[in-house]
Amino acid sequence: MSEFTCSISPTEGAPEGFSFDNVHRNAQIQGQLLSNNSNNNATRSASGNSSSASVLPLATKTGTTIVGVVYKDGVVLGADTRSTNDTTVADKNCEKIHYIAPNIYCCGAGTAADTEKTTELISSQMELLRMNTGGGQSRVVTACTLLKRMLFRYQGYVSAALVLGGVDHHGPHLYQIYPHGSTGKLPYTTMGSGSLAAMAVFEADFRDDMTEDEAVKLVQRAILAGIFNDLGSGSNVDTCVIRSDGSVRMGRNDITPNEVGPLRESVRRSDVLNMRPGTTAVLGETFVRAKGLGVTLADVTVSEMET
């Protein structure tokens, strides 16, 4: 082994990967909630709505419409910008197109934390690999393999459905990657809850060897189909063009068809909605001085615990 391989992690002994410390506790809480539920159901239940406090907090999902298309000189990726917590919109303008390498980007659908952290991890691994192998350009298939190997290892528990696209010296490539680790290499693909609406647009209008302009317009129309017809997708269209010459155009909020500003302007806003200071009761005030940015030395004596 040469000095260029890093088989020993510099942070050896530091925690790596997922922490399973709370598995036992969560199972206990789930069990308690279930027995509480059966107790509550035995008593009177007049309300038609089920209490949402009876389940563990749901992970934020990205609902989502994500798409990718290969065109003559590269790939175009597209995504909507809505993230949901069950049926509530958590983020109206989140970023679903993630950076993997200068020539590779990845759209993510599924659990927001999973897509974010998975793509960050693989991006980091790719950068280390570039450093360890002579500083060349990353290949898209490498990112695909790293992602699928990780997702398969977690047997689908990492809920990340990805559209990976990029250009390397073999040309433009587009992959779809499922949470359980299966992959597909395709000229065009859609994923997420809005994938059916977007795919309908692709199946009607996709052609091989489109120009960049045609490809971008097609991607935009596909995402818009998802935004307006799928409830899990909404707000704005993000696009990302990765060209064969290595240049990238990140179109963050490329199209914003859902600005609420004009709608709000059309309402003559009542004065009761403008709450001046003094509207809300102040019960008390305390002032806590901010501590300075220094280091305080504490004299601590440590004594062994008697068992």
Partner: protein, 172 residues
């Protein structure tokens, strides 16, 4: 439409399972026709309120999956709003909201309509101002609830009749 006029001064709004809502309206329409036939006058809003409650409880053990709000003008010419659950428990209230977006609307209306948790002076709100508040509230619910959107039907009920208007919301 999610709003259904039962008389010229009384409107029923319902959330829940559409087929049960449609059936409930059908049943109520028939009962109101029979009443008007027998009493030679249209049903007064408090009576409609009671009848809706009874109709829902009649199916206590196989309920209409319908969460209703009844609004109209009472016999004294004042506005009346009644809130219901699926099996007919009802109460006259200053305001009501039902459906997937209710969690976004109710706290806002508690503060603005009922003037809860505010120290500034309460003032009477004219109809036009309340309509604008409702539009603003629905814009907010439409932002955060995926099921709320497209458009809002607004009906203003006075002793002189029902004024209908439609307000466009975001379609995403």
């Amino acid at each position: 439409s999610k709003l259904h006029p039962l008389t010229g001064r009384c409107v029923l709004g319902s959330a829940g399972c559409k087929t049960d809502v449609d059936q409930l309206r059908s049943v109520l329409d028939i009962k109101m026709k029979v009443y008007a036939h027998n009493h030679r006058k249209p049903m007064a809003t408090p009576s409609v309120a009671q009848m809706l409650g009874n109709t829902l409880y009649y199916k206590r053990f196989f309920p209409y999956y319908s969460f209703n709000v009844l609004a109209g003008i009472d016999s004294e010419g004042k506005g009346a709003v009644y809130s219901y659950d699926a099996i007919g428990s009802f109460e006259r209230t200053p305001f009501s909201a039902s459906g997937s977006g209710q969690s976004f609307l109710i706290p806002l209306m508690d503060n603005v309509i009922s003037h809860k948790n505010r120290l500034d002076e309460r003032r009477d709100l004219p109809a036009e101002e309340v309509v604008e508040i409702v539009k603003d509230a629905f814009l907010t619910a439409g932002e955060r609830d995926i099921y709320t959107g497209d458009a809002v039907d607004i009906m203003v009920i006075t002793k002189d009749g029902i004024d209908k208007q439609t307000f466009q919301l975001k379609a995403d």
